[in-house]
């Protein structure tokens, strides 16, 4: 099936402000999102609240990631050595095209035409399924939500629950109409009970698991000292893919490396509690190279750059690479909760997407995303590795503004210049306040102004402006404390 995203950014989708407008009008989507994000938020608070040293764990997680990123070259070399020692093969991919070429080549060499996949952000990012399809290889997503997205020819809208935008009735229809095209059809009389839908997916995928000879996965962690790779999941589809096929290909962003196996003691506490709000996710698989008589006979690790070294080169933006893809920042974000993931137009939505996408792609490719935030800071509080997302957002906004300097000034720059003139003189400010108070009263409805006149309309299209008071504070002060009239006070 042809899913229309080419890489990190879905080419051809509207920029955030436009995409958000249509998402906001979708009341069903908003109801789904409110329920989903609210539920996960509560679970997460309960799970993190159980640990009285949660802040210490966050501090350790952040520090370990900082250590890794500042010495990434060393850890990558060590990881490679460890994986080779364990009998695996390591490949280095500079960008999406190279990674896709490597994986396609490895699958082709096995002679197989079908691969099973564990949910993986990295392979979505590089558009691996489309690249495999172009080479005549069909990739089957085995995570339930990813299967739903794949059957619908749709895009994921949440890092953790990619089909958060779909309701049960839609999913039932999708299974009834599309499952048969790709293998075992949905059972007759399928209901829209989630348990029945999960059972249909179990039967559909079981055939594929038992037949599969090649699997592709991502990685949550890779330990440099031992070469151990870890995948966390809930459904058991990961275990199937990591255990049953003969060949396992793991595509991993270079930032996922950890110094040591012992460091998992921090991340195996941070990730499940922050992500699904569980003390531990149902299944965590860890393997160190291929094992005789148990699981795949050959193991390939593809180390992916694809914009990560560019991100690494910015000492402020670098911290975004610490992300462990828990999605806690999505669930606490007031903007995400209202627009959903699609509006971000990227594999990585939400607050972390707003800092990661422009950096991986170059700010020019996703220039509206750093502005898709209220800078409320909830994402920073929720982040298990303490990524200061607001700091990076402001930093990227500055970069975007700086990129516009030198040519024609943007309206924003002109407005700032005008504001500087007004605020620089008490007399000019007072005159402006009087003018605004008068026009404001004409425009306001119930205490706020929906649409400002002239060039300000673009700003007011997405914001309500409080009606200006009839009198400024300074004027009021003079009038009530010095006995002069408002008109005199303003002179």
């Amino acid at each position: 099936m042809n899913t229309p995203h080419d890489s990190v950014v879905w080419l051809g989708v509207p920029a955030f402000p436009e995409a958000a407008r249509s998402a906001l009008a979708d009341t069903r989507l908003r109801a789904n999102l409110r329920k989903a994000t609210g539920t996960i938020r509560e679970k997460r608070l309960a799970a993190t609240g159980e640990l009285d040293d949660w802040e210490e764990l966050r501090a350790a997680g952040a520090a370990i990631k900082r250590r890794v990123l500042r010495h990434l070259d060393r850890y990558l070399e060590q990881l490679e050595e460890s994986v080779l020692r364990a009998g695996g093969t390591v490949h280095w991919a500079a960008d999406a095209a190279e990674a896709n070429r490597i994986v396609t080549g490895l699958v082709t060499a096995t002679g197989e035409r079908e691969v099973v996949k564990v949910k993986s952000m990295a392979t979505q990012e590089i558009g691996l399924n489309e690249a495999l399809a172009a080479a005549g290889i069909s990739a089957c997503e085995t995570d339930l939500a990813e299967l739903i997205v794949q059957l619908a020819g749709d895009r994921p809208s949440h890092i953790l629950v990619p089909a958060i935008h779909r309701g049960r009735a839609e999913i039932r229809e999708l299974f009834r109409r599309r499952m048969g095209d790709r293998g075992r059809p949905a059972p007759h009389g399928l209901s829209d009970d989630p348990a029945d839908l999960a059972e249909a997916a179990r039967l559909h995928l079981r055939d594929k698991f038992l037949r599969a000879k090649v699997a592709v996965s991502g990685a949550n962690f890779a330990c440099a000292d031992t070469g151990t790779i870890g995948v966390v999941e809930s459904e058991g589809n990961g275990r199937m893919c990591l255990t049953l096929p003969d060949t396992l290909i793991t595509v991993m962003g270079i930032e996922k490396v950890l110094p040591s196996f012992a460091d998992l003691e921090v991340f195996l506490q941070l990730l499940p509690r922050s992500s699904t709000g569980e003390r531990m996710n149902p299944y965590t698989s860890m393997w160190t190279g291929p094992v005789a008589g148990d699981g795949p006979r050959s193991f390939h690790l593809v180390l992916l750059d694809n914009g990560r070294t560019a991100t690494l080169s910015d000492p402020v933006g670098r911290q975004a690479l610490a992300c462990i893809r828990c999605s806690a920042c999505l669930n606490v974000c007031p903007v995400y909760e209202r627009t959903g993931g699609h509006a971000y137009g990227s594999v990585y939505p939400g607050p972390i997407g707003a800092v990661l996408t422009p950096q991986l792609m170059g700010v020019g490719q996703a220039s509206s995303l750093p502005f898709a935030s209220t800078l409320c800071g909830a994402c920073y509080d929720a982040c298990p590795v303490k990524i200061d997302i607001p700091e990076v957002l402001v930093h990227l906004r500055a970069a975007e503004v700086d990129a516009g300097r030198g040519v024609l000034p943007k309206p924003e720059a002109l407005a700032m210049k005008a504001a500087a003139g007004l605020l620089g003189s008490p007399r000019r400010l007072a005159a402006a306040q009087r003018a605004v108070a008068m026009t404001g009263r004409v425009l306001a409805r119930r205490g706020s102004i929906g649409r400002l006149p002239g060039p300000l309309a673009r700003w007011s299209a997405t914001r309500d402006t409080p009606a200006p008071p009839p009198e400024s504070f300074r004027a009021w002060w003079r009038r009530t404390h010095t006995g002069t009239s408002a008109a005199e006070a303003d002179r």
């Binding site: 339930l144 031992t226 275990r239 506490q269 393997w287 750059d305």
Partner: protein
């Protein structure tokens, strides 16, 4: 962009130009002030509670053979996979067919079995987690994955308090599987459904005799 190992490493080094050349990884401090364990005194009791909390059936016994026979009978298990190295005497003869993985069973046979009986190398109390390392009494990973019923018998002495304690005991060269409750999904409207691809029923018997099992 030029690919290959050395070009990528070169780009990583160039990106880190702000990091002083003489800085070593250990110079970046990592505060390890978090707890080694969040478990209290009663580690085994906590393990049982947390397992049950995630939908596993849990019981404690000092007589594993009787408890196993009762569990397998209650589930009307027709065929049971039994990995090598499980303590002799744990499984009594009964109306069930025992499947040994020697020579290795084909996947269809694993898929067709009604259950699997295994032990675990460790348990984690705080998270209610079983740790499998493909060692004696556990077998290769597929054995405890494909059957729909997993009966796991854990000696109490193997249960530790928390995640840091268990990782310190494990050898990462073996394939490791952490199991916390039956397989589950919340992918449809965030309703939790237990049982997707892994065993839909997880039953745990804790053997509480204070001893390691006889080999």
């Amino acid at each position: 962009m030029s690919g290959g190992r050395s070009a990528m490493l070169r780009r990583v080094r160039a990106a880190l130009a702000d990091v002083p050349a003489d800085e070593r990884p250990d110079d970046v401090p990592v505060p390890r002030t978090y707890r080694r364990s969040h478990a209290g005194e009663d580690v085994v009791g906590l393990f049982a509670d947390r397992l049950a909390d995630y939908g596993a059936h849990v019981s404690r016994t000092s007589d594993p053979a009787t408890a196993i026979a009762a569990a397998v009978t209650r589930r009307s298990v027709g065929s049971l996979i039994v990995p090598d190295g499980l303590p002799i005497g744990w499984l009594r003869p009964g109306p069930w067919r025992v499947l040994r993985d020697d020579p290795p069973l084909p996947v269809a046979a694993l898929d067709g079995a009604s259950g699997v009986l295994s032990t675990a190398v460790a348990g984690i109390a705080v998270t209610g987690t079983l740790v499998l390392d493909a060692g004696p009494g556990q077998g290769r990973r597929a054995l405890t994955l494909l059957p729909d019923y997993h009966l796991c018998v854990v000696p109490a002495a193997r249960i530790v308090g928390d995640v840091p304690e268990v990782l310190a005991r494990l050898a990462p060269d073996a394939p490791l599987t952490f199991v916390s409750g039956p397989s589950a999904t919340s992918d449809i409207e965030l309703d939790r459904v237990e049982g997707v691809h892994g065993p839909r029923v997880l039953e745990v018997i804790i053997v509480d005799d204070g001893k390691e099992p006889p080999a």
